[in-house]
């Protein structure tokens, strides 16, 4: 009986016991050393808020950043295809079907692509990737390190002569705290640092009343 119940629960698209909503600040950093000796570095941050049914990410704009140019479209009437500043909302229904939408607060618009357009928009259709920021199965293929780690967390490494990947995985939050990839000669690296915080009382996707929904293709001319 216990075994049957376990099998049924395992087959469900998401757990019956809902994890509480979680918030985190994601810091993306990259470094590239070019052949002419220039070190190029980038850094930006996103807010992540997730629940069992939805994942929201939104770029954080530092104070003093130049104002976003609203008048850069091709010929005046259409259409802003730059989703970097929009809220990105991935949710799933009771059947586990995922839906991607972009939320543009400046004109209270929700942009909804077709599933066949998800790939072009950088969404691979994986709840695992959206919710956990990685595929947890990949951790099993990595070497667990004895390196010092925060409580409930452990470092994992995958390394070959050319490249390395380092993950700090927090098993209590089920969230990576750091993901770093790079090449072994040190000329290139990418790192995401994840700092958990408190989820807001009202989740961003609960504040979309009055927004109009348009298709992604409405932005095309």
């Amino acid at each position: 009986m216990k075994k049957t119940l376990f099998v049924i629960l395992s087959a469900l698209p998401f757990p019956l016991l809902a994890a509480p909503p979680l918030s985190a600040t994601l810091t993306y950093e990259s470094k590239t050393l070019t052949s002419d000796g220039v070190l190029k570095q980038t850094r930006f941050q996103e807010k992540l808020i997730r629940s069992d049914q939805a994942v929201w990410t939104q770029r954080l704009i530092p104070k003093g950043a130049p104002q976003h140019n609203h008048a850069e479209d091709d010929h005046g009437h259409k259409h802003n295809l730059n989703f970097a500043l929009d809220g990105k909302l991935i949710d799933r229904d009771a059947k586990g079907t995922l839906r991607l939408r972009y939320v543009r607060s400046e004109d209270k618009t929700i942009i909804e692509p077709r599933p066949t357009e998800y790939g072009m928009m950088g969404f691979d259709g994986s709840w695992e990737h959206a919710y956990y920021l990685l595929d947890r199965n990949d951790l099993k293929k990595m070497k667990a390190l004895d390196r010092a780690a925060p409580a409930n967390s452990r470092w994992y490494e995958l390394r070959n002569p050319q490249r390395y990947t380092l993950v700090l995985w927090d098993s209590r939050l089920e969230l990576p705290r750091s993901i770093e990839t790079g090449n072994s000669n040190g000329t290139f690296s990418n790192r995401i640092t994840i700092e958990p915080g408190t989820a807001p009382g009202t989740l961003p996707w609960q504040t979309l009343q009055g927004y109009r929904t348009i298709a992604y293709e409405d932005l095309l001319d």
């Binding site: 190029k40 479209d73 010929h75 009437h77 295809l81 730059n82 095309l220 001319d221």
Partner: protein, 468 residues
């Protein structure tokens, strides 16, 4: 005296040849939306390698070519509304305007578009409709039709049969196609004989999941007016078009899927080739001949998305439709003696072709040095793709080495890989360069398409070929 007469007769004959008046009983006008010269070259290499040719380049083996200037009345770089309207009416108009006089404005003095959602709010004194070649053909007793992979109310098909001050008024445009209904374009007489593409949303009321604010169900109205209706590829296939007088098909609530997705996901939508052949079957029944416009409309959308793979797949689908039409018309009209085929684009894009790749390289891949096949590198030592864009959303903060694989969308051969861009813009723009035009058939009519011509001149050449 005799000699003088003969010389005069020769001159007259030459002059008539150049005019080509009345030789075309049928005209098929193919429009690759955004299909600029680089897209044509890249699609050629994609399917037929460097040494090959697209069907649209060969046509009947005697294709004539021209370069077409595409600027609009108010813009150096046009959008699809005035550029297609220039082909269809011979009139230069402002961006966003569909087949109206040059004084027509798409927006008021404050810049607010004459739109309420998808309904037009054009003031009555805001320009006048100008006749389209499709309307003129209809008035001369010919059958007429429009086929597209976009919504049938999108700028390009709309410019053949509708008149409105702003292209985004797709509800208003839809009503212009419904014989006898409010807002109908009476210049269409008893109506378009063929209308195939996407866009049920603009024909259905909001209560039925559409965008119409007037509560009308235009699909039901079209059926009442005698149109055979198809809503899927299977339904279209089941229609005996040779016995159908009026054919109407909407195969998606919005645009049809990209060809790559349609095939990969086995979506029950017709190909552009399927629609074109059905259209010819319907229109070919008219003894006076026909005018048909066929648009490969989503080439442009994939270009805006800087997704070269879908650009090339949709261009090949467009080219396959042209081949099928040529073969069908050769059966009906051997040698295309009375059929003029025109293939062109409404405008260019900013896609460009990097050097110096080795012959035989994958056109979607990274550039391989033609001398030794090694990866060509930029100044920072990173490789780069052959196809890139002048502007668009995908400009990485720092370029990384690219992988010529398809394992995931970061790899350049993947379906969803987005080519890199130079200038960072929200949306890739149209390009302002000239486009190519290819013409064949109808005796000497095709020969009149030559040199560098304005897009408005194409209207006159088609009209003259028809003998109007």
């Amino acid at each position: 005296m005799k000699k003088t007469l003969m010389a005069t007769a020769c001159l007259l004959a030459l002059s008539q040849g150049a005019q080509a008046a009345g030789e075309a009983k049928n005209v098929i006008f193919f429009l690759g939306d955004g299909m600029g010269p680089t897209t044509v070259t890249a699609a050629r290499i994609y399917k037929y390698k460097e040494e090959g040719f697209l069907n649209l380049e060969v046509l009947d083996g005697k294709a004539r070519t021209a370069r077409v200037k595409t600027y609009s009345n108010d813009a150096q770089t046009t959008d699809s509304a005035p550029s297609m309207a220039a082909y269809m009416t011979g009139v230069k108009m402002n961006n966003e305007v569909i087949s109206m006089s040059p004084d027509t404005k798409a927006a008021d003095a404050s810049g607010k578009a004459y739109l309420n959602g998808k309904d037009a709010t054009c003031p009555a004194d805001n320009g006048k409709p100008v006749d389209t070649i499709l309307e003129i053909a209809k008035s001369k007793g010919k059958a007429v039709g429009a086929v597209t992979t976009t919504t049938v109310t999108h700028a390009t098909p709309a410019a053949t049969y509708a008149h409105v001050c702003h292209r985004d008024a797709e509800n208003t445009i839809a009503a212009q196609a419904v014989p006898g209904g409010a807002g109908y374009n009476a210049k269409l007489g008893d109506g378009l004989d063929v209308l195939l593409g996407g866009g049920t949303r603009y024909f259905k009321p909001k209560a039925a999941g559409g965008d119409r604010t007037d509560g009308r169900d235009l699909i039901a109205e079209m059926k009442t007016k005698g149109y055979a209706f198809a809503g899927t590829g299977s339904e279209l296939n089941a229609i005996d078009a040779k016995k159908t007088a009026k054919l109407f098909g909407l195969f998606n609530s919005s645009h049809l899927n990209y060809e790559l997705d349609r095939v990969k996901n086995k979506i029950d939508e017709p190909s552009l080739k399927d629609m074109t052949l059905k259209a010819i079957d319907v229109l070919g029944q008219n003894k006076n001949g026909f005018f048909l416009m066929v648009e490969g409309g989503r080439i442009d959308h994939a270009l805006h998305g800087t997704n070269a793979k879908r650009v090339l797949d949709d261009t090949i689908a467009f080219d396959d439709a042209i081949k099928a039409a040529l073969d069908e018309m050769q059966k009906r009209d051997p040698g295309l003696a009375n059929t003029l085929i025109v293939v062109t684009a409404d405008h260019d894009h900013t896609m460009t072709f990097n050097g110096y790749g080795k012959r035989g390289s994958n056109i979607l891949g990274t550039v391989k040095n033609y001398k030794d096949g090694t990866e060509m590198k930029d100044k920072d030592g990173k490789n780069y793709t052959t196809l890139v864009f002048g502007n668009g959303p995908n400009r990485p903060a720092t370029r990384t080495n690219l992988v010529e694989g398809a394992a995931d969308k970061t790899q350049v051969l993947h379906d969803d890989y987005l080519q890199e861009t130079a200038v960072k813009l929200s949306s890739e723009t149209h390009g302002g360069g000239d486009v190519k035009l290819f013409a064949a058939g109808a005796g000497s009519a095709a020969k009149t398409f030559k040199g560098t011509i304005d897009n408005t001149k194409v209207f006159g050449l088609v009209k003259s070929a028809f003998g109007f």
